[in-house]
Structures are given as structure tokens and as C-alpha cells.
Amino acid sequence: MKKRSNAPFFWLMFGAGGMLSALLGTALVFITGLATPLGMVLKPDFMAYGRMMAFAHNFIGKGFVFVVIALFAWHAAHRIFHSLHDVGIHNGTVAKLLCYGSALVMTVVAAYSLLRIGF
């Protein structure tokens, strides 16, 4: 009897994260990493503390930030784990812990921080 793989769960996360990052990744990197810091297209106070807290206080804002971080992290972890195998790094357990572990850490840390911000 061949052992059933547990890949489907990670694959769904990979798929969801891949689609989300394909649709929103470019805009988000541009907004947070280039437009706001350089005051390009957006004003430099676009991400000022007051505005960000207002965004993060509400359910939708929290949910959005959490989903982006979590799905991006799990998508990337899954692909990086498989890419390590592609280039000959086969140590399954250590590679799994580092890749999926980092995604888990980001997910938990993001959730904790978002909850700490309160409502």
C-alpha cells in the first residue's frame, strides 16, 4: 500500500499564495517599498502611524495584512523547499523545518502582533 502524501494541504496554500502574490504582489511592493518611502505617486505620509493604526485596528485591515503575510510566506516556503531538492539539497527534515518553519514563524508573529495592536 503506497503511503498517501500530505502534500495537498501545502499545495493549496502554495496555490492560494501564488495567486494572491501574482495579483497583488507587484502593487504592494511598489506601494510599501518604493512609492511611500520615495514620496512617488503617493505622499510620504501614506503609511504614517495614525493611518496605519486606523487600518490595522479594523477587522478587514487586520485580516488583509494577515492573509498577505501568511499566504506569501507559505507559498514561498513550499517552492523554496522544492527548489532545494531541485539543486541537490535533499535533507528532507532539516529543509522542511527551515522552509515551512519560517512560514510558521512569520504567520504566528504576524498574528500575535496584529492582535496586540487591538481593535
Binding site: 502524501s5 495537498p8 522544492h82 531541485d86
Partner: protein
């Protein structure tokens, strides 16, 4: 036929287990005409220059699947690859990638054949059917779902193309999974449940990382990449649906 005025260099990766421990390149100068395939080039070498060169071939018309080999690093049917497209040469010919070399251009096919047999490549009827009920009827739309996947000639170019198979020979692989899909998707077949175990295993669909080179090299347009990746959805559904209560429970 005109006398050939050009020659082309064909380099063949030789491996004779009784005399060498590692493959070694050997070069041949082959008279060239516009209509010659790489297979014809190899046949010239065997007939006129070096009778020891070993390679498989049969139909010379891209339907038997025997003559697969790496031609300038691309998995190809040598009967369907033409020397005129590879000028000025040299043409580098080696055994199909990822498969153990038995001798020269001849690879071990037994694991592939075993995998083919393991997927139950035949119609498993949904329910017992008497001869008096007549033949199965199938609409053109139903046929279209399976037709391309039934075109496989077992040439193994997709296995030479697939790096995941190269990295893990236990991977069921593109061609066999395409054939599995061909039967699961056949309106006459009821054997899906029996084939799920193969799909669901790590060496089933889950070893595929959608490189897609298998479909690129397939000489028959089977699109094994599509067959495998469609079945990731089926396998995932099977994975999660088993947690739902059974009908009637």
C-alpha cells in the same frame, strides 16, 4: 538520388559495459543529404563505419516510440529529427537522459514498463455489462476528454525531459500518469478509486513541480504536464473529502 557532397559530424556517446566503466564520446563523419534523419545518419554509421554502435529503431515514422535519444541535449525521436536542421553540426547524440544506459544509445526500459502495468491501463467497467446490451456509446465531447492522452507511443522522451524523474526514479512520471488520466477520464471507465492510491502517493502527482518540459518534447502532443497537474486537483479533493461523512451515514 544525388550523390552527397557534404558531410556532417555526428558524435555518439558510446558505452560498452564489457570494455569501459564510463561513457565516452566517439565522432563520425557522415555523408549528408537534405532528406536524412538522424536515424539514417546512425544507420549509415552502423552499416558503413562502425558496426558496433547500438541503438533502437523500428518504424522510421514516429509511431513506434523506439528511437528516442538526446539530440543536441533535447529528447527527440531520431527518425523525426533531420540533419539539415542541425547544420553545421557537430550533432551530439546520447542515450535518453535520466535512464540507465545499457549500451550506447540503448536505455533500461523495464522500470517504465512496470509502472505502465501498475496503473491498470484498461477499462474497468462501472458495472457488469452483458453482451446483449451492445457497445458503449460515447459522444465526441467525451472522446475529446481522452483522445490526446491516448496518443502516447511510450517513447519515454517525457522521462528524459523530466528533472523530477531524474532526481527521483521512483516518480511514476509523466507518460504513465497521462495514461492513468486517459483511463480515469474515459466515460466508460469506473476504476478511478482503484487508481487513486498511485496518484495520491508522494511518487504520484506530488513529485511534479510543473516544469512542463515533458509536454514540450512529446512528439504526439499528449500534454502529460496537463494530465499530471489536473490530477493534483483530483488528489487534493480526494485528500480532503475523505474527512466528510460518507453518503447515507
Amino acid at each position: 538520388m544525388a550523390e552527397p557532397t557534404q558531410t556532417i559530424e555526428i558524435q555518439v556517446l558510446r558505452y560498452r559495459p564489457e570494455q569501459e566503466t564510463e561513457p565516452v564520446w566517439q565522432s563520425y563523419q557522415v555523408p549528408f543529404t537534405e532528406d536524412m534523419s538522424v536515424l539514417q545518419g546512425l544507420q549509415y554509421i552502423k552499416d558503413e563505419i562502425d558496426g558496433s554502435v547500438s541503438f533502437r529503431w523500428s518504424c522510421r515514422m514516429a509511431i513506434c516510440g523506439s528511437c528516442g535519444m538526446m539530440i543536441n541535449r533535447k529528447p527527440s525521436l531520431s527518425c523525426q529529427t533531420f540533419l539539415r536542421d542541425l547544420l553545421p553540426g557537430p550533432v551530439k547524440v546520447e542515450a535518453l537522459d535520466h535512464l540507465p544506459i545499457e549500451r550506447d544509445l540503448v536505455v533500461s526500459v523495464e522500470p517504465f514498463v512496470k509502472k505502465l502495468e501498475s496503473i491498470k491501463p484498461y477499462i474497468i467497467p462501472k458495472e457488469a455489462r452483458a453482451l446483449s446490451e451492445g457497445e458503449y456509446l460515447q459522444t465526441p465531447a467525451q472522446l475529446e476528454k481522452i483522445e490526446q492522452f491516448s496518443s502516447c507511443i511510450n517513447c519515454m522522451l517525457c522521462y528524459a525531459a523530466c528533472p523530477q524523474f531524474g532526481l527521483n526514479p521512483e516518480f511514476t512520471g509523466p507518460g504513465v500518469l497521462a495514461l492513468l488520466h486517459r483511463y480515469n477520464a474515459d466515460s466508460r471507465d469506473g476504476g478511478r478509486a482503484e487508481r487513486m492510491e498511485i496518484l495520491n502517493a508522494e511518487e504520484g502527482v506530488w513529485s511534479c513541480t510543473a516544469v512542463g518540459y515533458c509536454s514540450e518534447v512529446c512528439p504526439k502532443g499528449v500534454d502529460p504536464a496537463n494530465a499530471v497537474n489536473q490530477n493534483k486537483v483530483n488528489s487534493a479533493l480526494d485528500y480532503f473529502i475523505r474527512f466528510l461523512p460518507k453518503k447515507g451515514a
